[in-house]
Structure formats: C-alpha cells, structure tokens
Symmetry: C2
Subunit: 203 residues, 2 copies
C-alpha cells in the first residue's frame, strides 16, 4: 500500500517533511511512503536538496496522494508536461493537499464547486479557480481533502492514516509527536511507533 | 549570525526538519541556518539522505546550537571523535536539544544537576546521567534548554529566535505555521515570513 507525497523544486520544507515523518510512523502491512517528483532530486525553498523515490506519473498507483506546497506548486500550474503526468482518481484514491497544493488540485478539476482551504496568501487565487474557499484548517469532501497552515499536516496525515490503516494507528502516530506534558506523557504503558522508537515502544 | 543544527545518521526526521524550517523563516541581519555533521551527507531513520553545510567542529562558532535526536544520537554517546569535535559553550552560546539530543548535552556535562526533559523512551537513561528529568515540553536553565516531543520544536525554536532576533520575529515565525483558523487567519494585515511567502506577506 503506497502513499505518495508529490514534490517539486521550491517546495515548502515543512509541508513535505512533516507529512513524510508522520506517514512513516505507520505500522501496517505493505505500507510504503514515497516522494514523487519529475527529477531525481528536488530542492526546497530554503535550499535543501532531497532524493525522490519515483516519478510523479507513479502517483496513479498510490492508495493516497498528498500534493505539497510552496512557490514550486504555483510554477507547476503552468507546466503542461507535469500536469499531463499527474493522474489522480478520487474514485479509488484518497487525495489531499497542503497549503498552496490546493491550487494544483483545482487545476486538475478536483475542487470544482467544492469547499476547500489553502494558505492565506493563496486564498484569492484559489477562489478565482471556482472553489469555495473557507477559513478552516482541514476540509474534506469525500475522498478529497485540503489542509492549510503547516501544522494542519496532522489533520491531513491523520485522515489518511485512519482511512487506510485504522483509528488506532492514527492515535499512536499523532500522540507520538505531541510535546511532553501536552499530549505525550512519561507513562510507560503508552504505545509509540516502533519504527522510530524501537520495539520496546510498541507495547 | 549562525544557528547550527547538529545531525548524524539515523536522526529523527521531524526533529531536524521542523527546526530547520522554523529557523529559516527568521528575517534578521546575517541570520544563517546550517546543518552540521561528521560526513558530507546524513541519512535519517526513515532513509532520507540530506547534505550537510559543514562539520560539527564548526558548532563552536554559532550563536545557537540545536542537538537533534534519534537512534543516531545514542550512537554518538560512544563516539569519542565526535564528542571531541563538539565544543559547546553556554557562556556565549544558546544551546538546546530536541528529545534524545538531551543525552548528548548530558554527556558533555551541560546538564549536571539541572532540570531537563527528553523523549519518554529515554527518560531513565537521562536520569542515570545525573539529570533531574521532568515531564515538561520545554525546560530552560540559563542558556541551555531541552525540549521533548517533536512539536516542542516550536518552544525551542521560539526561544532561540526571541533571544537572537527578538520577540516580533518569534511571533511572526510561530504564527506562520499554525493551522488556518487555529492561530493563522485569512486576515490580509497579518505579517508572514517573506522568505517563504514572498514580499507581499511582509506587510
């Protein structure tokens, strides 16, 4: 079961990396998280270069796809080769966006006449694409969801995890990143993701 | 003014990347964020490989240093070459740790007899090093601070930003990553980091 995170040059760091980290905490048979782009590596808006696992055309095979954000997302709105390679089907996939990634979902026709959210700086542009833009952190319409404000990644990742791996995995993953004393405790009977924290954490 | 983030192989992704993103949102004369390690690249616990900007020995020149976390932090406790190269001086630097990075601060003698926090799985090990471990998200003792639970990165980054770049920068940066409708709004008079969101966001 693949979950794909779509990247491009000039991506907003945290919108890729927080999603990547959260989704990699899931323990579920066949679960695999992949970064997909249209080059072997992509460089973030702050200049950090990371390798991709595959091409954006492979998103069609994923159980869930997250479109990330940043100036690079806006550039892709005019990239016909990229848009032609990106095939998403909410009929059989969960599809989500972080922040300005919603513009790409709108461009692909997935938000027509629907409610959606985006980063404050992009709300007028998204509205101009025929979308009902609402001031909410997470908006779900069937199998398509939009999240806005970097930490709303927890809402979007949580939705994907619950849909594909169940409610308990969602709870385990989201608890594991909370601050100590504010959601995460020193209690020893607390289950944590074993991939990150070792087998002893899986009790 | 350099802020250094210390990396190693098997680092916890989000403890490096959230700090990296937050610190890169700061607008302050000479502000520069650098990833320091003991190789040209390091690979996270999930398998993501990123390039370093310099060697850990350069941490001595930074205004603030953040020690990150993960299985790799524990491995460095027994790496004499690494420990010998890592010189930190809270007399003239702000020094902080995320999660199990506190073990390295303790190993360097920076937490002796002090209050500190760490990830739940590492609390007994940290206590065995002569540290008073408390169940709190962020603990500051003078120029040394420990944070635990991934999202406590906001507390640690916020402290460093306020100390080095001022209270307004702290507010601008931390607001910019909040979820829409929960700290970040659609109001157009809201100042946002221009490096990430463009000049128009800096109003």
């Amino acid at each position: 079961m693949d979950v794909a995170i779509l990247c491009f040059d000039d991506f907003t760091d945290i919108d890729v990396f927080l999603m990547w980290d959260l989704l990699n905490r899931v323990e579920h048979p066949g679960w695999r998280v992949r970064l997909l782009g249209d080059a072997t590596h992509h460089t973030s808006v702050t200049g950090l270069t990371i390798p991709m696992h595959g091409h954006v055309r492979e998103a069609v095979d994923a159980a869930a796809v997250v479109v990330t954000s940043g100036p690079g997302a806006r550039a892709k709105l005019a990239d016909e080769a990229y848009l032609g390679a990106l095939r998403l089907d909410p009929g059989r996939q969960r599809v989500g966006s972080m922040c300005s990634g919603a513009l790409l979902l709108a461009k692909l026709g997935l938000l027509a006449g629907k409610r959606a959210t985006t980063y404050p700086t992009q709300r007028e542009r998204l509205a101009a694409m025929g979308v009902e833009v609402v001031e909410e952190a997470f908006v779900r319409e069937g199998n398509v969801a939009t999240a806005a404000g970097c930490l709303a990644a927890l809402d979007l990742a949580g939705w994907i995890i619950e849909e594909l791996a169940g409610e308990e995995q969602r709870a385990v993953v989201l608890r594991s990143v909370q601050p100590v004393g504010r959601g995460l405790s020193f209690a020893s009977d607390q289950r944590l993701p074993t991939r990150i924290y070792g087998a002893a954490a899986g009790r």
